[in-house]
């Protein structure tokens, strides 16, 4: 198939795992210009399928790269995996970095569209020359590292672990270098297709329309990275990884502790960025080609946990032992399980038991969950289903059944709103208000005020939907902006995208997702925080008051948000034909 495009290959690969049949087909140019790639393209490709049950064989699992992947644009070796989440029931996408994305693009496609269920455990190999579905009986049951090692000779690997095979509702897909497609249980979707792993390789180049302009835009981005204290500052994520946030969240009194009963955990100092650096011979690590290298690992190559993971396996469960936290992180990675949801589910369970799991109990509980053994079978359903089943729904600290990450909403009201308006459930990354409410980027906002937050969250959601479709890493935007990334994608594709054009695309993607969710039965009643945040204060002290959230003010701002989005006051579409008008 001849490609006349720059940036994109203009084609996708459809594979029906039930029959093993595959075919390459062109992607309409209007879709590429209207949805970019990654999350947006995946969302568009699901338009005819979003009503299917998440684990139905016909439900597509889409791996989509963006126009920047394969180019020297900073932090662009990313892809999005898109399907419907078995945990939340929402449309779901997750962005992940690494060589897999780069190699998928090198295979000559912009998207891999998987449907069906293989008759037996299988591995899918994709190259420019074709597709091979291989028997994976010998790999079924094996952990991530062993699976990757067995396939690495053939290219880059994305695999599930035992958690995905057992359809744990928060099972991840893990890339060969350790990057996770996390949170919403897309590993279970892959497991339900009897697909143990995908291995990709290729030699197709991404054609760049204007290399000189790309180089100039790249320099602009790098200059902004260097000017950003959060990225390349001496205390920033390039030095300490995201655990640099541990001290800040502690100081701001918004670190979720003991299932969000409190917001300060004094022993957090044990697993702060500096503590991790002291305890391990930390080396910089990160996504393929990324200049930031925010991931950290030991000299032996063991990946060290991110902020959300240290905080949830630490404060949320009352555990102060760094080595236990690192072990929990590594175990989740090996089993192919999301660390935030795993730790939060155990924390909800712990509160119900009257005591939280100890450091020693954590490993066996995670193993039981991944293998659905004993109590693990119920924990594998996530905190919402477990808590409802136990008659204690109030103990699940989740929105739309997605467990909340390590930013207490009582300490950042934009975050409170964004957890609820996120189309994939309680996620910090859809609008990422931590950037302005805590990190002061691009400009500081008052974290204890709802004023103006509805529109800020709306704009940030549009922006991030575009970023997830380019696809680039969100951390880039703690320094750069869509101005620079607009220049990058214009240089790569030869098609002019202004920052506002990108936000318009982001808005289309966000609204499409919400449309799908509403059609699947979601409503305003799902756009709400757990009751605890409205009736229990956080841990005030040291001059910082952390009250419970004012429910009336929250509701007022949520209604305002709907209005700004062009929705009805109940958060619905006045125009039932919205989707038909989109490319």
């Amino acid at each position: 198939m001849k490609n006349s495009l720059n940036g994109w290959h203009g084609s996708m690969l459809r594979v029906d795992l039930s029959t093993g049949e595959s075919r390459r087909e062109p992607i309409p140019e209007s879709w590429l210009h209207g949805y970019l790639g990654g999350r947006g393209l995946g969302v568009r490709l699901l338009r005819d399928f979003y009503r299917l049950e998440p684990l139905a064989p016909e439900m597509p699992l889409v791996f989509a790269v963006g126009p920047l992947c394969g180019s020297p644009a900073p932090t662009s070796a990313h892809l999005a995996v898109v399907s419907r989440s078995p945990l939340t029931g929402t449309i779901y996408d997750c962005s992940a970095g690494g060589r897999f994305a780069w190699r998928l693009k090198s295979a000559g496609i912009d998207a891999l569209f998987l449907t069906g269920r293989a008759p037996r455990p299988s591995v899918l190999a994709v190259t420019p020359q074709g597709v091979e579905v291989m028997d994976a009986a010998a790999l079924w049951g094996r952990r991530i590292e062993a699976t990757v090692a067995a396939l690495a000779e053939r290219g880059s690997v994305a695999a599930i672990g035992p958690a995905g095979e057992n359809k744990v509702l928060f099972a991840n897909i893990i890339m060969g270098e350790g990057n996770s497609v996390g949170r919403g249980g897309l590993g279970a979707v892959m497991g339900s297709k009897n697909l143990k792993a995908i291995v990709v390789d290729g030699d197709r180049k991404t054609v760049i329309a204007d290399p000189q302009r790309l180089q100039a835009a790249r320099q602009d981005v790098m200059r902004l990275f260097k000017a950003s204290p959060v990225i390349f500052g001496q205390l920033g994520i390039a030095e300490y990884g995201t655990p640099t946030l541990v001290d800040l969240m502690h100081q701001r009194r918004m670190a979720p502790t003991e299932n969000f009963r409190r917001t300060v955990f004094d022993a957090a100092v044990n697993y702060s960025g500096p503590a991790i650096r002291r305890a391990f011979e930390v080396k910089k690590d990160g996504c393929f080609g990324c200049p930031i290298q925010c991931k950290k690992s030991t000299k032996q190559g063991e990946h060290l946990p991110e902020y959300e993971t240290v905080s949830h396996f630490g404060a949320l469960n009352g555990i102060a032992d760094l080595h236990s936290i690192v072990r929990s992180n590594s175990l989740c990675n090996e089993l192919g399980m999301d660390t935030i949801s795993a730790a939060a589910t155990l924390s909800a369970w712990g509160e119900a038991q009257g005591r939280f799991p100890t450091a020693e109990e954590m490993g066996p509980l995670l193993e039981a969950t991944a293998h659905r053994r004993g109590i693990g079978d119920r924990l594998a359903e996530g905190s919402r289903r477990w808590a409802v089943g136990a008659g204690k729904p109030q103990l699940s600290m989740s929105v739309k059944a997605l467990e909340l990450p390590a930013y207490d909403p009582r300490g950042a009201y934009g975050m409170a709103l964004a957890y609820c308006t996120s189309n994939r459930g309680g996620c910090h990354l859809r609008a990422y208000p931590i950037a302005h409410e805590i990190l002061r980027k691009p400009v500081p906002t008052d974290r204890f005020s709802f004023a103006g937050k509805a529109r800020i969250i709306k704009i940030a959601e549009d922006t991030n939907a575009a970023i997830d479709s380019l696809v680039a890493c969100k951390f880039s935007f703690l320094g750069a902006s869509l101005e620079e990334y607009g220049a990058l994608v214009s240089a790569v594709t030869g098609h002019e995208f202004s920052p506002q054009d990108l936000k318009d695309i982001g808005e289309r993607i966000y609204l499409s997702e919400r449309f799908y969710n509403l059609e699947n039965g979601f409503s305003m009643a799902d756009d709400v925080l757990p009751e605890r945040f409205f009736c229990e204060p956080g841990s005030s002290g040291e001059g910082i008051e952390v009250p419970a959230i004012d429910r009336a003010r929250f509701t007022e701002e949520l209604t305002k948000y709907y209005r700004i989005r062009g929705l009805t006051d109940a958060g619905r579409f006045a125009d039932a034909g919205f989707l038909e008008r989109q490319p």
């Binding site: 950003s228 500052g233 002061r440 400009v443 500081p444 509805a454 529109r455 305002k560 700004i564």
Partner: protein, 391 residues
């Protein structure tokens, strides 16, 4: 939102960057909030309706140099590309719109879809804030600063080219380029030991820098070495509003809570290490920025990226001047070795660092001295270069 608009409107008037009677501020919450002259608001409303941002400011600078700058731009030149730090790092270029299109909201919005701030001949500067009115204010100030610096450099290089330009410059000299006097200011005598007193002094000195129109409020940072901890202004903090915006950063990095500290933390640390000083003041006084970019070694020099690559230590009025990009871009390594002897250093196209051995009085006085010298020297050179060229 209304309070924020009132606040930043007042700041634009107070810092002299806009004519107080010609500032229109508009912001979208779920309804539109607009403040300003009646003839500008409908245009502002139309522009804002076309953009996915919270806020827009349309204002006429207090001096006519913006219009001169546009008129001096030859042909259909679509944008200005100054090389000062603000433009180089945050703006990239500043689109221009000619007088004929000054009321065309569609054309103005089309440019603002691409850039944070633009110049419209006959109207002034139009800037947006994606999230807050504060952002629109900062973008306005950045465009104003970059345009001001470029205009002065252009005039020095090419002379007065337009009717009325020389007279307007005489006004500018009178209102902006007079020496700053600081006899009315008081400083705590150091060394300061009490944390509360240190924070109060930092806040006071920050207000001085803006109050004397030495530095725009968002264009600088300040720190104090308190034993093994540096107290430093946060990233994005306004120098005239520093209360609650100072991060304590331990030297041993035992805490990373200071990840929100100024992007110049590395430079402050290196300077403290190299000099043993207690106070550091950093800002972007406009004439100091201009003079830092005048290099007597340009003939025959093949360095293109002077701000980054120039290896020389030049002297501007006795102040050592070096290259170096902000943050992790190398400025810290360049400034620290040269600042100790004179207590002051200039960074190419960027701004000034000054030291206080015991208190902020010395640092503030040095900052003023550098800027005053640069004002005087600029006017002297301009007179020399333009004698006989004026219209």
């Amino acid at each position: 939102m209304k309070r924020q608009i009132a606040k930043y409107k007042e700041k634009l008037a107070a810092d002299g960057s806009a004519d107080p009677l010609r500032i229109a501020f508009l912001a979208k919450d779920d309804i539109l909030i607009a403040e300003g002259p009646a003839d500008l608001l409908p245009l502002g409303e139309e522009i804002l309706a076309r953009l996915n941002v919270v806020c827009a400011v349309l204002a006429e600078p207090s001096l006519p140099f913006i219009d001169f700058l546009v008129r001096r731009a030859t042909g259909e030149e679509p944008c200005l590309v100054p090389r000062d730090t603000e433009t180089r790092t945050f703006l990239h270029d500043i689109p221009l719109l000619r007088r004929a299109d000054r009321g065309d909201s569609e054309k103005i919005a089309a440019l603002l879809r691409r850039r944070k701030g633009i110049i419209v001949e006959g109207l002034g500067i139009v800037a947006t804030g994606a999230f807050t009115p504060e952002q629109a204010f900062i973008h306005y100030c950045s465009v104003f600063h970059a345009a001001f610096v470029k205009y002065l450099l252009d005039v020095l290089q090419d002379g007065f080219l337009l009717p009325g330009e020389e007279a307007a410059f005489a006004d500018l000299r009178q209102s902006w380029l007079q020496p700053i006097a600081i006899g009315d200011l008081t400083f705590a005598s150091g060394p300061l030991e009490d944390r509360t007193a240190i924070l109060a002094e930092i806040a006071r000195v920050g207000r001085y820098t803006v109050g004397k129109r030495l530095v725009d409020s968002a264009f600088g940072n300040i720190s104090w070495r308190d034993g093994q901890t540096i107290l430093i202004s946060q990233t994005g903090a306004h120098l005239d509003e520093l209360a609650g915006c100072i991060d304590p950063v331990p030297n041993d990095n035992s805490s990373t809570a200071g990840v929100t500290a100024s992007s110049e933390l590395a430079a402050h640390r290196r300077i403290f290490e190299a000099t043993g000083a207690r106070a550091i003041l950093h800002g972007h006084p406009k004439l100091a920025v201009v003079m830092s970019m005048l290099c007597e070694h340009q003939a025959g020099c093949n360095i293109a990226d002077c701000w980054r690559q120039c290896p020389r230590v030049r002297f501007v009025g006795g102040t050592p001047t070096v290259a170096g990009e902000i943050g992790a871009g190398g400025l810290a390594e360049k400034v620290a070795p040269v600042i100790g002897e004179t207590g002051r250093a200039l960074v190419f196209g960027h701004g000034v660092f000054t030291l206080g051995r015991n208190g902020f009085g010395e640092a503030f006085a040095a900052l003023v001295e550098v800027e005053n010298w640069c004002r005087e020297e600029f006017c002297r050179r301009l007179q020399r270069e333009t004698s006989g060229t004026a219209r």
